[in-house]
Symmetry: C3
Subunit: 398 residues, 3 copies
């Protein structure tokens, strides 16, 4: 990309209306307009280009990025830390412990207490159906109120780093990978993507990835097939959103109970394990009742149910069904690789190996996507600010 | 506040003598002169004004702020992180574990080993009577010696983030809140403040807040009443300091065994639970002897004792006894709110709700107070440095 | 040191060939040429001089320094944090847990996932013979491959913060202390250093310090004596390296089974406990087989073996055997001090006390040595960059 390209991209960004993202949060991709989605891609690309040219994108001379992780997470933690650091923010972890789900007064108070100098709050809370996103909204409302009451001197922007409903930083990074891979967002139109369930020896994997993919990829005119064994449904509300999206974008959305059928002529495949939505709802209820016996039974039941679908594995044979036998293989990582990380898993080692570099590249967009979400929420005119960074030409490394 | 105001405040600051705070520590408010106390308020206000105008107050291009917390602490941790970040320092936690109390050689060595590039050390150690502040002084002496021996290239400033005796960052933030609320430090003269014990279902809460309030508010000519049930005394040494302070400042200090009497015509009330000093001394002894059976008995005894004073609750009725029925309600947070965070606690939900924004604002001064303590310890002429920051006009956010 | 000196040192640095360290890692001192070793000392000294003159050495406007510690470590953690901060990098910990040793796919993937914006990775992994350094090489190869495949936009430099074979940041800091103490690297020629085993009531202390000292000090023409009781051998490969080094440098390397004989006329003594290499190999095997009974037996056996050599203590009497009775006493700290940190240990309290300031100063070089290793790996022409920093004259503290 040359100088003209960066300025051209900044020009394109300036055409997009992001005013509703200003001083706002990024919680679900389907809350955001097409302009806003496109702007995140554009800002992420420009930030990456600037960094590659050793131009500093530090926009904060001081400020905290608060991270709240209710589950262990190396990758998301590093993505958030990278994005925050790229913009000049220092990460401060709020370690509340996993199990306890705070409500009401406690959430409001803690949210304000940690935010006196916080410009960003990143939350990962995907454990309990009906809780994660709700918790994020509670935090967002608390700091918004604190800001409007004059308690907080700045409005901390909340970024959803994975919840029970959506995983916007993952799906947006995935989409940006597709945009780069196929040469532009317009090239996605008509492409077939198979978001398929795959077998894993563990159980209870979050639904946020398949839901995020269904809710986002349907906006680009793609043909989205969600494949899974009977009973492994995702949230019905998200399926509805996917249907509505595909109607508006001129793409399609359908479900299938055959991995092979979904892979047929696919341009992109995304085979990944997840837990049935109903089972996750039940688990949340059991945890709510502190019914440890019930949780154990459910776990046993789910593992047995999973084991009936061991043939749902992304093999070379299945890959040969895809368009020209060379669909792009995607995964949010880490994958359960047969014979490597488990006896039998989501994907054959040979398939994984062939796509490793592409998978790592896919992941590499996440820090930029997070940084872009923050950037757009902080500046009413992000194009002008990027122009300023570009012209300022501060170097990142001496 | 306009430009003239900032320069006026800087002018006022320049009249205050802070030379004894230069390259020194902030351990107890009563170690510090009135000029020094006033200077902390002034610097905190100016730093806040600068930040509100998007002027960066980064004074360190690199440097560490070491934090040592011997107790879990979200709020203090974030206040210290915010203050450090505001000045450009990166926080590095020294996680020594809670229980172990290091002495002598170990303290001296560790203090030096973590301080090669440390500009600040913040310590919270309030668990054991007779230990916390003593530990801080040991650390302070160690790094002071290291500095004078030429081992350390800078003198790390120690900030007491709460000890067994005082909680200076809390009481100073509380006082700054009062100054802002009543319109100036001179407006505090003659105001009545009721620092009152209140019932809590937990036991063993630190004494540092009531002691800190008694030791500080008596310096501003206020009428300070310390109310508590028989047997819930604070450290006698601190009561003496409070008496001496009030004589010098033209205010008063007295104790009371009635919450209602203390609230009568009060301008400010601060109802909060704490443990009896004698019991805390006993607990320290039991821990020292590793007498776990004794600790359990003491806990049981203290909870039973507390339970006799459930009527010590800040109710609407009690608030109606205060001046014009609208005293300012203060708390260091989190409060035990009846029917919210516990069945019965320190304060009625309706009273808490009414003062929530004020309570959050009270807390918002702490990062600035900590930053001010550091600032004055680092610069022999803080007024000049603030002038420089103001004229430099580096922006905090692009 | 005056201005002329700094420029003179930069001039000397510019004569040293460090091109093979550019975009490379620092894993073992004996992997590096004499020019490279000298350059690390030189850069460390210059960085220290600049900081002492309040000149900022911040070379990164953003960027992460990833730390991976497989063992608790306060000192190394702070040294790494200090070095990173000195150059402008933010530390992000990768907390993988102690026990688990990752391999292959997992290492490759994690190494890339945490490195999208990582400029440095510091690893401490000294627990298992044959594993620590091997793990570092796996990480280094993974990110090198990621960089060359275009996945990573920068090549993260790996710094060995202690492994099973070497402890280069310790031995280099120790050597820099000697250089400063004796007035130049050329003054080390012919000096006698006694690296001696000493008794400790704990067992299983790493071999990396004696191995690091033997592998490095033999390069400066010193007479290196490695003294230990029968059976406390270090890795044979490292002894071979030490022999080869001493032949090339015109010094000598020999072992001894007498502490007194080693101390005789020594200019420097370094008495420190370590575990027998063979026992550590056996322990690694037992851990590999998860043989907890075997580990317990080995521990008992080793403690009994240690106890036979309690007279291996650095006493005043032994010190009186050294050159002019005043050898420089060194230790990596913390030391087991008789009557202070244990009943009987490596050194008499009186000897330790006398050398305390020198020991702390010895430790103070480590952050600068780490920063220098990073600096040389990041800049193809470190002398030019230091010149730039010097001429830029950005201040560290306002």
């Amino acid at each position: 990309m040359n100088t003209q390209d960066i300025q051209e991209q900044i020009g394109q960004l300036s055409q997009l209306n992001t005013e509703k993202m200003f001083l706002n949060d990024f919680l679900l991709t389907w809350d955001r307009s097409q302009d806003e989605i496109n702007a995140v891609f554009k800002v992420a690309e420009i930030l990456r280009q600037l960094r590659q040219r050793n131009i500093s994108t530090r926009t904060f001379d001081s400020g905290l990025a608060v991270s709240i992780f209710r589950d262990n997470s190396t990758r998301t933690r590093f993505s958030f830390a990278s994005a925050s650091n790229l913009l000049g923010l220092a990460v401060q972890d709020l370690d509340e412990g996993k199990s306890q789900i705070a409500h009401g007064e406690t959430v409001r108070e803690t949210a304000n207490m940690v935010s006196f100098m916080a410009d960003v709050i990143g939350i990962r809370d995907d454990m309990y159906i009906g809780k994660g996103n709700a918790y994020m909204r509670e935090v967002a409302e608390s700091v918004n109120e604190g800001y409007h009451e004059g308690i907080l001197e700045q409005r901390p922007t909340l970024v959803n780093l994975q919840c029970d409903i959506d995983h916007p930083t993952q799906s947006m990074a995935d989409a940006l990978h597709l945009i780069q891979h196929f040469g532009g967002i317009n090239q996605l139109k008509g492409k077939k993507i198979a978001m398929s369930w795959a077998y894993s020896p563990s159980y209870g994997k979050p639904l946020s990835v398949p839901q995020g993919i269904a809710g986002l990829m349907t906006r680009f005119g793609m043909d989205v097939v969600l494949a899974h064994p009977k009973g492994y449904n995702i949230m019905p509300e998200v399926e509805q959103i996917a249907r509505k999206n595909s109607e508006e974008s001129g793409g399609s959305f359908r479900t299938s109970e055959s991995m092979a059928e979904a892979f047929k002529d696919a341009d992109i495949v995304y085979p990944k394990s997840w837990a049935p939505f109903n089972a996750m709802e039940k688990r949340t209820e059991l945890y709510g009742n502190n019914d440890m016996q019930g949780i154990k039974s459910l776990e046993k039941e789910l593992l047995a149910q999973n084991a009936r679908y061991k043939e749902w594995e992304c093999t070379r044979e299945l890959m040969d069904l895809t368009r020209n036998k060379k669909a792009l293989y995607m995964h949010c990582l880490p994958a359960d690789i047969t014979g490597v990380s488990c006896e039998q898993g989501e994907v054959e080692a040979a398939v994984f190996d062939q796509h490793r570099n592409s998978l790592y590249t896919e992941a590499s967009y996440k820090p930029y996507v997070i940084a872009a979400m923050i950037f757009i929420a902080k500046f009413s005119n992000p194009a002008d600010k990027l122009e300023e960074l570009y012209n300022r030409q501060h170097i990142r490394i001496l």
